[in-house]
Symmetry: C2
Subunit: 699 residues, 2 copies
C-alpha cells in the first residue's frame, strides 16, 4: 500500500544544500551510503553538483521516473515543490521540513494547503516535521539520523523523531536490526493506521513497534490493530499524561474513566502490547522477533550460579510464569551427565565450573522434555566459564529445537560481550538480568494467549430502540441533559435491563395508596429533573416499614429538598421495592473523545469510591471481555462467593454490561451513564438496576 | 574492626599452584597485578618459585609479619593450615576452599573444626567457600575473579560469588568503581552484621550494597543496619522464595505473614533500600554515591526532545516525585535565552537543535531557582547535538551547584557513549532511560525522608506481666497450646487492651440470669479449649434480642458443637455485649524465625481475607511506625472517614498495636495472636477487642 514510500522506483531529495550539516545534504548522503538499490537524485536550483553528481534545478527536470520525493525546503516553499512533484507523477512525499501545524494557526493553514495539493495529485504524505523514513530491505535511508539501521525484523514507527535517533543509537550498540523506521511527524496524512495496514502485509517485519503520544481516530485504530495483531505482535509505548480534572463529569464512571483507562482498554482489546519504557520495548521486540511463540506456559531455567537462578525463579512467581516439572527420565538423564552437587530439578544448576559441553548435555536433555516449552539459560562469567563456546552451543540448541523459545541471560557487559554478540547475531536474544528475560517471556505468553483465544462474539439483543429515541427527544426538547430517574430507568428497561419497580406518587395520599399495593419495606426517592445526587439533598429514605412511616418520610423528603434546593422542580416521590440480600455493583459508561464509550464495572460503595477496584472496556464489549471485566477485579472473590457464602449471578452482570454497551453504541448522544447500584442477586436469580442515571449531550 | 582483612600488613596466599588457571595462582596474580601496597607472599610446600619470587613451604617460614592468610588448599588440609596461620600470628583468614557446610554433615563438622581453631587464635574468618575479598583503597585484590574493580565509593558484599563475578563484569563496562568487594561464602564467622559495622566507619565507602539470600541473626542485623543506614545508605537485594505453605499456622495473621513480609518490614524499619534486581542495585548505588541528597522533593526536567520529556514526567507521576514550579524570574530568564518554540515550564524543552551552550544557559537559570532541588537532564543524539561538550557542561553545572542532585539521561548507547564516559568519570550518573533516572531519584528521596525522620520512640506501657505469666503457665500445665477465649481476653486485658465484657454461663438458666444483667442485644460464643474457629462449628450467635431468644440460641449452639465436634470439651457459653457502629479491624502477631514477632494490622473481614489489604512491622513497633501501619493500608480512607462519615479512633488502634507489640516482646512463647475483630469505635471513643486468640509454644 505504501510501497512507493518504502521501496520507490526513484527518489528525489528536494533541497540538498552544498554544505555538510545541511539537512538535505545529510539525507542525500544517508541514501548514498546506505546503498539504496534504485536510483536517487538531488534537487536544488542553486546547486549544480554534489559528490560529482548532477543536481537538478527541479524534480521535473529529472529524466527518470521518481516515485518518492523527500522534501527539505523551507515550509513556505513546500506547496510549490509539491505541485512540481505532482506534475512529475510522484506517488509519495516525505516532508521533513518543519514550520507547519506545530507552530500555530498560520502553519496549520499551510499544512492544509500542502495536503490539498497532495490529494489532488494522489500523493501520500509522511510528516511534515519528521525525521524521515528508512527501509533496510531495499537499502533506503531517507532520514537525517546519524545512524543507518542494521537490517532486521522489527518495524519501528514513532511520533517523536528525537526518540528515534536515540533508539537507533541504542540499537546500533546492541546490534538490533530493523525492517523499517518511520517518523510520523505531524501525521497530516499518513497515520499509525495506514502504517499498521501496510506493515501487516510486509514480510520483512515480524514485529511492529510504535511510540505514540496521541491517537485521533481511536476506533479505526482499534479495528485495524486488532486485525494486525492477530498476525504479528504490535508493541507500543503510549506516553503522555492523564487528563484528570480536565473534564467536567457528573457520574462515578466519569470520575474514574480517564484517557489512561481508555488507552489501556483499547490496547488490551486490540491485542497491542503496552511497553512501559523504551527498555521494555526493546526487550519485547527482540524476544518476539528472534524466537518462536512457545507451545505452552512452562519454562525451564538453567544456570551456572545459584543466586541468579533464584532471581529467575522469583521473577517467574512475580510474573506468573510456571516452572516446568520435568519427567522422571529427564532428571535421571541429568543425574548421569551432571556432577553430584548439581541441581537436577528446575532451576537446573550446572555449577560454577560448567564448561560449554556440560551446558550442551544438560540443554539437550531438558529441551527434549515435552513439559518444557521454553528456556532461560543463565551464564555468569566465572573462572572456568567458556563464554563464546557456550554461546555457540546455545545457538545450536536453538536450531535443534526450533519450536522451543530460548532466551539467554549472559550476566555482565565486558568479558561476556563477545558471547552476547554470537547470541544476538544468531537470533538468540540476550537479557542482562534474569528478571528481564522472565518479564519478556511473560509478555510473549500473554500475547500467545491473546491470539489463541476464540473468535470474539458480540451479542446483539432485541431492544426497544425507538422508545429510547422518544425519551431522549423529549428530554432534549425540554432543554435538559440529565434524564429524570424514571425516564432513565425506562431507557434501561427498553434495553432489557431489569429495573427496580418504581411508581411515582405525587402526594402523600397517593403514596400511601400505592405503597399498600407494592408491599413493604419500601425505598423512597425524590423525582426531580434538577437533582442528580439525591442523597446529598436528603431526597432518599430506605427501609420504610409501614404506612405511617411512609407518610412521615414522604413529607420529610419533600421538606429536605425544599430546604436544600428551593428552586428544584419536584415531580413527586418514587416508591420502590427494597432489594435485600444482594451484592451492590456498579455498571457505568463514559464517553472517551478518542475511543468512544468506555464501559465500567466494579463493586459498589467503598469498593468504587475508596479502593477504585474497577475494570474497563471500550464498547462494543464482546461476551468474553464482559466476563473478564467481572473476574479481573480484585474483589471478584466476593462475587464468586467465599467461605461457604453463595456467589452472585455473574451471568446477569455480564448480560447487563453488554446491554449497556449496546445502548452506548446505539446512542452516541449518551455522554455518561451509571447503574449504581446494580443489585446482583444470588446465582440464577438475576440482578436489578436499582438506580439509573443518564446524561445526554447533543446528537 | 576488620582492617587486617582489607588492608593487612602482609598477605600470604596458601596453596599457590604453579600452573595458570590454578585458583591460588590466579589469586596471587590478582594481588600482584592490582598493585597491592604492602607485602604479599605465596605458600606451597611443593613449589619453589613463581614469577621469579620465592614460594614458602609454610606460612611460618615467611620472615615478615603476615596479617591475612588467603587459604586455597583442599578442605581437609584447612585445619592444619589454620593452625600454622595462628602460630604465625595471622589476624584474618579468607578461606576460598569449598567442601564445607555446603556439602553436608561431614563438611559442616570440618567447618566447625576450622572455626574452633580460628577462635583459639583470635583469627576472623571470611568464608569458607567464597570468591575472596578486594579493597581498592590499598590495592588488594584477593579474589579469583577475572576483573580487578575500579576504585570507587561503593562497597559490595554478596552471598553469591558467581553474582559478584557478573557484577564486576557489568561494572567494568559501565566504569563503576568499588571501595570493597566481599564474598561472604558460608558465613562461618564473618557475617553481614560484622561487615556493616566495619563499613559504617570506612570513609572510602559512601554506599553499601548487599546481595542477601538469607540472614540468621535477624534482630541483630536490624539493629546494626538501622544504626548504619543513618550514616550511609544500604541497598540490598534479597532473593529467594517465600516459605508459603512450609509452616502450620492457625491464625489469620499467620496465614498472611510469610518470610517475604518479615524481610520487607525488617528492611523498611532499619532503613535498608530494597532493590528488585541487580539493575536497580546499580542504578541506586551510583545515584547515591555520585550526587548529594537533595534538600527537597522538587525536580526539574530538561530535555532536547519532547517525547522523552513526557516519559520523564509520566515517571514522576508514577513514582511520586514532584515537578518543581519555577519562580516567575526563572521563566522570564529562560524566555530570554531560549528560542521561541522552547518549553519554558517544567519540563524545559531546549529543542532538538540545542547545542551545549544552550544547555548551559538553561541549566544555570533553572538550577539557581530555589524551588528546584534536583534535575534530570535528558539528551537525545540529534543532528546538531554536541554530545561531549554538553556532558562537560553538565559536569561543570554539577560542580557549580554542589548541593543540587543532577542525573543525566543520555539516550542511546553508541554515539552517546563518549559523553556518558565524561559524565560518569566526573560523578554525574547517567541513566539510559528517563524512567530509571526518576525511579532512582524517588529512592534517594525516600531515603532522605528516612534519615530526617525524628527519633523513633518506643512507648513502654505499665502492664500486669505476672498475670499473663500465670495464665500461660496454667495453660502449659494442662498441655494446651491454644488459650481458651476467656484466658486470651484476660491476657489482652492485662496488657491494657480494652476487651468486650464477656461472662461465662455454664447452662441455660445461668445464661438467662446473667443476660438480663448485661442488657440486650447480646452475642453468644461457645467457650472450649478445643475449638479455635468457633463459627465453623456453629458456635456463635449474634444479635440475641431477649431472654427467649437467649434460651433458644444457647441450646442451639451446644447442639451444633456436639454435632460437629463430639469430642470437644465445652466449658460453657460466653455472653458478650454487642458492639455496634464500629469498624472491624484486625490486629495480630506471628513469630518469624529470623526476625521475631511480626505485627499485622488490617481492616477485618473481606479486607483481610479477600483483598489482603494489611500492613506489617517487626516488634517492637515504635509509635510512628504503628501510626504508619494504619495509614498505609489501601482502605485507610474508610478509617479516616469519607463522604461525611465520621472517622474511627485511630489513636486507639495505634495504642493497641503497640501493646500487642510489647506483649509479643515480653513473652517469646507467644507463637501467634489475633485480635479479630478489634472494633474501632468513633473518634475519641476508643476501641474494643471483641475476640482474642493466642497460641503459645514452649518457652
Amino acid at each position: 500500500m505504501l510501497e512507493s514510500m518504502f521501496c520507490p522506483i526513484g527518489v528525489a531529495v528536494i533541497g540538498v544544500g552544498r554544505k555538510e550539516g545541511n539537512v538535505g545534504h545529510e539525507i542525500f548522503d544517508n541514501i548514498r551510503e546506505a546503498g539504496f538499490q534504485n536510483r536517487f537524485f538531488a534537487v536544488n536550483p542553486k546547486t549544480e553538483e554534489i559528490h560529482g553528481e548532477k543536481v537538478y534545478p527541479s524534480i521535473k527536470d529529472i529524466p527518470y521516473p521518481v516515485e518518492l520525493a523527500v522534501v527539505v525546503v523551507p515550509s513556505k516553499l513546500v506547496p510549490q515543490v509539491m505541485e512540481e512533484a505532482g506534475e512529475k507523477g510522484v506517488k509519495a512525499a516525505v516532508i521533513i521540513s518543519a514550520g507547519f501545524k506545530e507552530t500555530g494557526i498560520e502553519g496549520a493553514r499551510l499544512e492544509k494547503q500542502v495536503i490539498d495539493i497532495a490529494e489532488r495529485y494522489g500523493i501520500r504524505v509522511l510528516g511534515p516535521n519528521c525525521l524521515g523514513v528508512a527501509d533496510t530491505g531495499c537499502g533506503l535511508n531517507a532520514t537525517f539520523a546519524k545512524e543507518t539501521p542494521y537490517r532486521g525484523e522489527i518495524a519501528m514507527m514513532s511520533q517523536s523523531g528525537a526518540l528515534l535517533t536515540a533508539i537507533l543509537d541504542w540499537a546500533k550498540a546492541e546490534r538490533i536490526g530493523f525492517s523499517k523506521i518511520i517518523s510520523l511527524g505531524n501525521k497530516a496524512d499518513i497515520s499509525e493506521i495506514d502504517l499498521l495496514k501496510t506493515l501487516k502485509e510486509d514480510n520483512q517485519s515480524k514485529v511492529i513497534c510504535a511510540y505514540i503520544e496521541g491517537i485521533t481516530r481511536g476506533r479505526d485504530f482499534m479495528m485495524v490493530a486488532e486485525d494486525v495483531s492477530k498476525k504479528k505482535p504490535i508493541i507500543a509505548i503510549k506516553s503522555g499524561g492523564t487528563d484528570a480534572g480536565a473534564r467536567a463529569v457528573s457520574s462515578h464512571t466519569g470520575t474514574l474513566a480517564g484517557s489512561e483507562q481508555a488507552y489501556n482498554s483499547a490496547f488490551k482489546q486490540s491485542g497491542i502490547i503496552r511497553a512501559g519504557s523504551v527498555e521494555d520495548l526493546f526487550d519485547y521486540a527482540v524476544g518476539f522477533a528472534y524466537q518462536p511463540l512457545p507451545k505452552g506456559r512452562n519454562v525451564a531455567i538453567m544456570t551456572n550460579a545459584g543466586g541468579p537462578g533464584i532471581m529467575a525463579t522469583d521473577a517467574c512467581e512475580r510474573y506468573g510464569v510456571s516452572l516446568a516439572a520435568f519427567e522422571k527420565e529427564t532428571i535421571d538423564a541429568l543425574r548421569e551427565v551432571l556432577p553430584p552437587a548439581a541441581g537436577l530439578y528446575n532451576p537446573v544448576d550446572v555449577l560454577g565450573d560448567a564448561k560449554a559441553e556440560r551446558y550442551r548435555k544438560a540443554m539437550e536433555i531438558v529441551l527434549a522434555d515435552e513439559n518444557v516449552h521454553s528456556m532461560v539459560v543463565i551464564l555468569t562469567p566465572q573462572a572456568m566459564t567458556e563464554i563464546d563456546k557456550t554461546a555457540k552451543i546455545i545457538v545450536e540448541m536453538s536450531r535443534t529445537f526450533p519450536e522451543k523459545l530460548i532466551y539467554a541471560c549472559y550476566m555482565g557487559r565486558a568479558d561476556v560481550s563477545s558471547g552476547i554478540k554470537i547470541l544476538t547475531e544468531n537470533r538468540v536474544p540476550n537479557y542482562y538480568y534474569p528478571e528481564r528475560a522472565v518479564a519478556t517471556l511473560a509478555t510473549v505468553l500473554s500475547y500467545a494467549e491473546y491470539i489463541h483465544r476464540g473468535r470474539v462474539t458480540y451479542e446483539r439483543f432485541a431492544v426497544k430502540k425507538r422508545r429510547v429515541r422518544e425519551i431522549f427527544d423529549e428530554t432534549l426538547k425540554l432543554g435538559r441533559r440529565n434524564l429524570p430517574d424514571i425516564q432513565a430507568s425506562q431507557v434501561a428497561d427498553a434495553y432489557g435491563i431489569r429495573i427496580a419497580r418504581c411508581v411515582l406518587a405525587k402526594d402523600v395520599n397517593e403514596a400511601i395508596r400505592i405503597g399498600g399495593g407494592l408491599g413493604f419495606p419500601l425505598a423512597l426517592k425524590v423525582v426531580s429533573p434538577d437533582i442528580l445526587h439525591k442523597s446529598d439533598v436528603g431526597g432518599i429514605a430506605i427501609g420504610v416499614r409501614d404506612e405511617v412511616e411512609l407518610g412521615v418520610m414522604f413529607n420529610r423528603i419533600i421538606d429536605n429538598v425544599r430546604r436544600f434546593m428551593p428552586q428544584a422542580t419536584i415531580w413527586g416521590i418514587c416508591l420502590q421495592e427494597m432489594i435485600t440480600g444482594a451484592r451492590e455493583t456498579i455498571i457505568g459508561m463514559s464517553r472517551d473523545p478518542q475511543f468512544g464509550p468506555l464501559i465500567l464495572f466494579g463493586l459498589g460503595g467503598i469498593y468504587v469510591e475508596v479502593l477504585k477496584d474497577v475494570s474497563f472496556r471500550i464498547a462494543p464489549v464482546p461476551d468474553q471481555e464482559a466476563r473478564k471485566m467481572v473476574t479481573e477485579i480484585q474483589s471478584y472473590a466476593l462475587l464468586r462467593g467465599t467461605r461457604g457464602q453463595p456467589g452472585v449471578d455473574i451471568d446477569a452482570i455480564v448480560d447487563t454490561v453488554m446491554r449497556v454497551s449496546q445502548l452506548a453504541m446505539d446512542f452516541p448522544e449518551i455522554v455518561e451513564m451509571d447503574i449504581n447500584p446494580f443489585m446482583a442477586l444470588e446465582k440464577g436469580k438475576g440482578g436489578i438496576a436499582a438506580d439509573v442515571r443518564i446524561t445526554i449531550g447533543g446528537k
